[in-house]
Symmetry: C2
Subunit: 185 residues, 2 copies
DNA sequence: ACTAATTTAGTACTAGGTATTAATAGGTGG
DNA sequence: CCACCTATTAATACCTAGTACTAAATTAGT
């Protein structure tokens, strides 16, 4: 059966969202209307053509992958003195939280702190040996986390303390034992 | 000046990799050859046309984002008994390692272990309070990590021990203190 | 100078459209 | 019952970024 214009257009919006690779032809077939009708619909709804949609996705994820991938330190480093201390900034976004409750997943706080601890150690290759963590209070979606790392010991193993704050409030604390790896390995 | 065929083709390969949105026309302009030459080059090199390249990217990242995002547990859960124990599997890929040395970054091992520990606790909302970690040996690109979680204490706080193995070898160890959060909060 | 490789030109055709104009079908109000 | 309106369909010209193919022109190597 044929749907009304309104219904068809609503379905179209959803369809394009979950199946962005639909051609006008395929949509016309699905809703038993002509291809011209579909095109009028797209105009009215402001849905770009297939190629445009595809390009948008490709572009979006092109930067996305770029910024996600070779990022050596999780978060943005705002200050760094090798073997002394460093600071980084991370805003908690959708991708960092549990969907159910909007609370940041522990491993993101850990990742910010750990990668900063590694970065502050002056060695070609620094690796974490042990760590002890305290999640002081849950961090919510939208909160801005400042991680402050300080080197507290420099023997064979380096100890780095990291405190993560939201505003003035301590939300996470970690102590890392980092070692400088040899070349041959 | 005009480059030799070989040089041009090598440059083309690189160009397409870092700028996948180049049209044949633009490439022809850049290398001062005709559009047909570029097309012959693409044939020989097996480089698909612009629209194909764009579509590939869009498709890749379509699943990519899908699989990356709403993944509640990092890694693949192979076994789970609530409040008792669970196992998950994670293969170390490019995106998990330091580019320089191919060693897995600590926070991925942590993420696998921590998310598994959270999953095994039978509560609507479980959060990590404290953790202590030991990175026993560096994990290399391509290695397959099996994380085994066991609940070792069930009072107000739940304690979960996680051992991560590559083959039979212990590579990472963690003890998590998890608490069950109240609804109001 | 001659052959082979390389490059360019040109034509027909394709998908998946845009943009525009015009025709048709189905109801509604007066 | 006719006029009008909305929705739909049709038809045509044009676009981009190509493929596939044939043929000619140029350049390089020996």
């Amino acid at each position: 059966m044929r749907l009304s214009k309104k219904e068809r257009q609503q379905q179209l919006l959803k369809a394009v969202e979950i199946e962005p690779f639909l051609t006008d032809e395929e949509m016309a077939r699905r809703y038993h209307v002509s291809i011209q009708t579909i095109r009028l619909d797209r105009m009215e709804l402001g849905i770009p053509e297939l190629r445009g949609r595809i390009k948008d996705m490709a572009e979006k994820n092109f930067d996305h992958v770029r910024s996600l991938y070779p990022e050596e330190v999780i978060g943005e480093v705002t200050e760094l003195t090798l073997d002394v201390g460093a600071t980084s900034f991370l805003e908690i976004r959708d991708e960092h939280v549990f969907a159910r409750n909007g609370i940041a997943r522990g491993h993101h706080l850990f990742a910010q702190a750990n990668s900063l601890a590694i970065a502050v150690v002056d060695a070609e290759t620094a690796l974490t040996a042990t760590a002890s963590l305290r999640f002081v209070r849950p961090v919510q979606l939208g909160e801005k986390c400042i991680a402050k790392a300080r080197v507290t010991q420099k023997s064979s193993r380096t100890q780095v303390d990291v405190n993560t704050l939201v505003g003035n409030e301590l939300v996470f604390q970690a102590v890392f034992d980092v070692y400088r790896a040899k070349e041959d390995e």
